[in-house]
């Protein structure tokens, strides 16, 4: 089947679910014809005056290919956009997909890009229209919508802009091309430097945004690892007021010397307190801002421990189900074009939101608190009011509920609290008691359970009243290091330093984890990460600097605004890259040597299991027998000191040290992870007494 004269319009959607929603919205009866093609299902809708064919993409169908081909050659500056199956292995499906799009689009009179309205969406649609649909990218129209609801899709179809988003597409192309050039050239320089010395091939990667992001984690890790806590002293006290024991703190706060703190305590001991002053004031807490994607991901991490990658996946599913507006937004504003009253009324039909939604409608709360950040393409994230058509998974439900309750909160009135502070004198020293109570819940009531207010009531106190001092003591405290970056915290730092985009940041964080440069969440830099990062700092200081990345981001933004051309930006970037490569080429032998050392150290660390309990000086490691190729545990002192400690290992699955040695025999314990069974922990000692009694 191809688009015949009756199929006047040919629409490209970003994903299969989006294609179905668009087709349903545009079909007069709401039931478009679903056709099972060779590669995918597409839809034919009966529009008001013509038939409309809606075809899905599968995200990016086109990508960049290095035309020099040989992966060891650099610099490589000549690239070409090709179908993804030509650049990556195992993507035959993409080839079939593109062929089908080409076939179906033949004969269509009108072409429409209906992919997500952002840089990536514009690029996905534009490359398909250009390469699969005979260069229709220049004449195609663009549908712009922020939700996949029927009303928004119909409006976008009606108000469709002619001509694609040239500047967005140009910015998208430039971003991909610059990142590709930096990525392949720097990674090749590192990889080949090492290969020349060792003869072994192992990928060492670097990137325009990836490397400074690794730099953030390194900087924080360095602060934590080289942190010396400084002691200080506080004085904790408690007074008896009536029947209640009320805690109080020394008014001066931190005391630097223990002798000073001890003197204060001894001067206060066995004395009475006298109320000197009672101060009350009312404070107002404004509602929170509407969610942009970054603040939502951070909140989801704090509340549900969902990392940004997982929360983004959930947000995409909720968007494709038309339950929420487009999530990849940088805006914290809900413009007046959004009919808030009708969204509230729709939400009132969902039982668990019925009461708060009705209350907001009855009170005429339709003016949201607006945030600071803006995004010209999309508003802040809000619920569409559409009822979920399927049962949401636990995590989806949590995120959806958070979005709905946040939407309620931004519409509600401010909260008001009463703060009470009482000053108590004990001899020459002053202590403070404080209390907090809620006068008016306001938005807090609508945002529960995602905010908790702990009220602390002070008993009634009069000036000159005597209160008994029941406790006074010195507490030693230490200054604390900054916390390690969580994935959500790192995302915030990237936003703050303006590197990457809202669409790419989550992926970059995932990449540095996949490359084994960082581990865990909160994150710590691995030995490999330290070595590669240090090496980049030494030989490519500019790639690790935020200034260079930010400067390149500014150039992308300028392309988006039509202030400079893509070619101009590419030439600037290529010149900068070439000068970096020239500088580093002189140090290639040193780079190779350092990387060789790095990989050797990393390999040693990866195979280390723990201290040898036999010779007490060596380290037990995972080794491979040259003869049988089987792995086993052996001591590092075997050659040097002749320690013969050894033990067999399971031959299948991944082996990782647990950290704590076996309580019974002192040998290291390992965790074995294999595909066909649950992870299990065991002591490596084959004659461990605990193992024999089957207690491990």
């Amino acid at each position: 089947m191809s688009a015949t004269a009756t199929h006047i319009a040919f629409i490209v959607a970003e994903k299969p679910t989006a294609a179905r929603r668009i087709a349903e919205a545009l079909d007069r009866r709401g039931f478009p014809k679903k056709v099972r093609g060779r590669a995918f299902e597409y839809y034919v809708s009966e529009g008001e005056d013509s038939e409309i064919m809606v075809c899905p993409a599968l995200g990016h169908l086109y990508t960049l290919l290095d035309l020099r081909g040989d992966k060891s050659l650099y610099p490589s500056l000549v690239t070409k956009w090709v179908s993804r199956d030509r650049a990556e292995r195992g993507l035959q499906r993409v080839r079939a997909w593109i062929q089908e799009i080409t076939q179906l689009s033949k004969g269509a009179a009108r072409f429409i890009n209906a992919c997500d309205y952002d840089i990536e969406g514009s690029l996905i649609g534009s490359t398909i229209l250009k390469y699969a649909c005979s260069e229709k990218d220049k004449t195609a129209a663009r549908m712009r919508f922020s939700t996949l609801t029927k009303a928004d899709i119909l409006l976008a179809y009606k108000n469709m802009a002619s001509g694609t988003d040239d500047s967005l597409v140009e910015a998208g192309l430039a971003r991909h091309e610059v990142d590709f050039l930096y990525g392949i050239n720097l990674s090749r320089l590192l990889t080949t430097s090492q290969k020349r010395l060792s003869g072994r091939y192992s990928t060492i990667s670097a990137g325009r945004v990836q490397s400074p992001t690794l730099g953030f984690v390194m900087e924080r890790d360095e602060e934590i690892n080289s942190f010396v806590p400084i002691p200080h002293f506080e004085i904790d006290a408690a007074f008896k007021v009536g029947e209640e024991i009320v805690p109080a703190s020394y008014e001066e706060g931190k005391i630097q010397k223990l002798s000073e703190a001890s003197r204060i305590v001894s001067e206060c001991e066995n004395s009475q307190g006298i109320v000197k002053d009672v101060e009350q004031r009312t404070v107002t807490r404004s509602p929170p801002y509407p969610f942009d994607v970054g603040s939502l991901q951070r909140t989801a991490y704090t509340l549900f421990n969902l990392n940004p990658t997982r929360s983004m996946g959930i947000l995409e599913r909720l968007y494709l189900d038309a339950l929420i507006s487009y999530p990849r937004t940088g805006s914290q504003k809900l413009p007046s074009t959004i009919d808030i009253e009708s969204k509230l009324k729709d939400l009132a039909s969902i039982p668990k939101y019925s009461e708060p939604a009705k209350e907001l409608v009855e009170n005429g709360c339709f003016q949201p608190r607006q945030g600071v950040k803006e995004d010209p393409a999309h508003p802040a994230i809000y619920p569409t009011g559409v009822k979920p058509a399927r049962t949401l998974s636990k995590e989806e439900d949590k995120i959806y509920d958070l979005i709905v309750r946040r939407f309620f909160a931004v519409l509600a009135s401010p909260a008001r609290m009463r703060l009470v502070r009482a000053k108590i004198s004990v001899g020459l020293h002053l202590f403070t008691m404080s209390g907090v109570s809620v006068i008016e819940m306001g938005w807090i009531r609508f945002y529960r359970p995602y905010i908790q207010i702990t009220e602390r009531f002070l008993p009634a106190l009069k000036i000159a009243q005597e209160v008994g001092l029941v406790k006074v003591s010195v507490v030693t405290r230490y200054s604390s290091p900054p916390p390690p970056y969580s994935s959500a915290g790192l995302l915030e730092e990237m936003e703050r330093k303006e590197i990457g985009t809202k669409a790419t940041r989550t992926g970059i964080i995932e990449t540095i984890g996949r490359r084994k440069y960082v581990r865990g969440d909160p994150m710590a830099v691995t030995s490999l990460g330290w070595s590669v990062g240090t090496l980049l700092e030494q030989h490519f200081p500019r790639i690790m600097s935020i200034e260079m990345t930010r400067d390149l981001e500014n150039q992308m933004n300028k392309i988006e605004r039509g202030e400079i051309s893509r070619v101009e930006a590419l030439i600037n970037s290529a010149e900068l890259l070439m000068s970096m490569l020239d500088d580093a080429r002189q140090d290639q032998v040193a780079i190779g040597r350092e990387l060789l050392e790095t990989t050797r150290r990393t390999r040693l660390e990866e195979t280390a299991l723990g201290k040898c309990p036999v010779c007490k000086t060596g380290e037990l490691r995972v080794l491979r027998s040259k003869k049988t190729k089987k792995r086993f545990v052996g001591c590092s002192n075997y050659w040097a000191g002749g320690c013969k400690a050894s033990a067999p290992l399971p031959q299948r699955g991944k082996v990782a040290p647990v950290g704590e040695p076996c309580k019974s025999c002192g040998w290291p314990r390992i965790k074995v992870l294999s595909k066909d069974r649950h992870p299990w922990i065991t002591c490596v000692n084959p004659v461990c007494p605990l193992k024999e009694s089957n207690k491990i």
């Binding site: 360095e222 934590i224 690892n225 080289s226 942190f227 010396v228 806590p229 400084i230 002691p231 200080h232 002293f233 630097q256 010397k257 223990l258 002798s259 230490y478 200054s479 604390s480 290091p481 330290w530 240090t534 350092e594 150290r601």
Partner: protein, 73 residues
């Protein structure tokens, strides 16, 4: 290439790598506020660091090294 006495990395300053050098500097600089706060001797300070909450990993390694080597300030 001379290796760091603690971690095997390349030496940056006085037998220690770049990271352990920073930790050593911090350890030495922090002795003064510790001494003022607790009237503590250098050796006791290095021992106390091992048990202090929030003490960095490199600082622990450096304080161990300084104890072992008998370094005085």
């Amino acid at each position: 290439m001379e290796k760091c006495k603690i971690c095997d990395r390349v030496v940056a300053e006085e037998s220690l790598c770049r990271y352990h050098s920073v930790a050593r500097r911090n350890t030495i600089n922090a002795y003064r506020p510790w001494k003022e706060a607790l009237g503590i001797a250098w050796k006791d300070y290095l021992v106390s660091l091992q048990r202090s909450p929030g003490c960095g990993e490199w600082v622990r390694e450096v304080s161990n090294y300084l104890l072992r080597e008998g370094v005085q300030v």
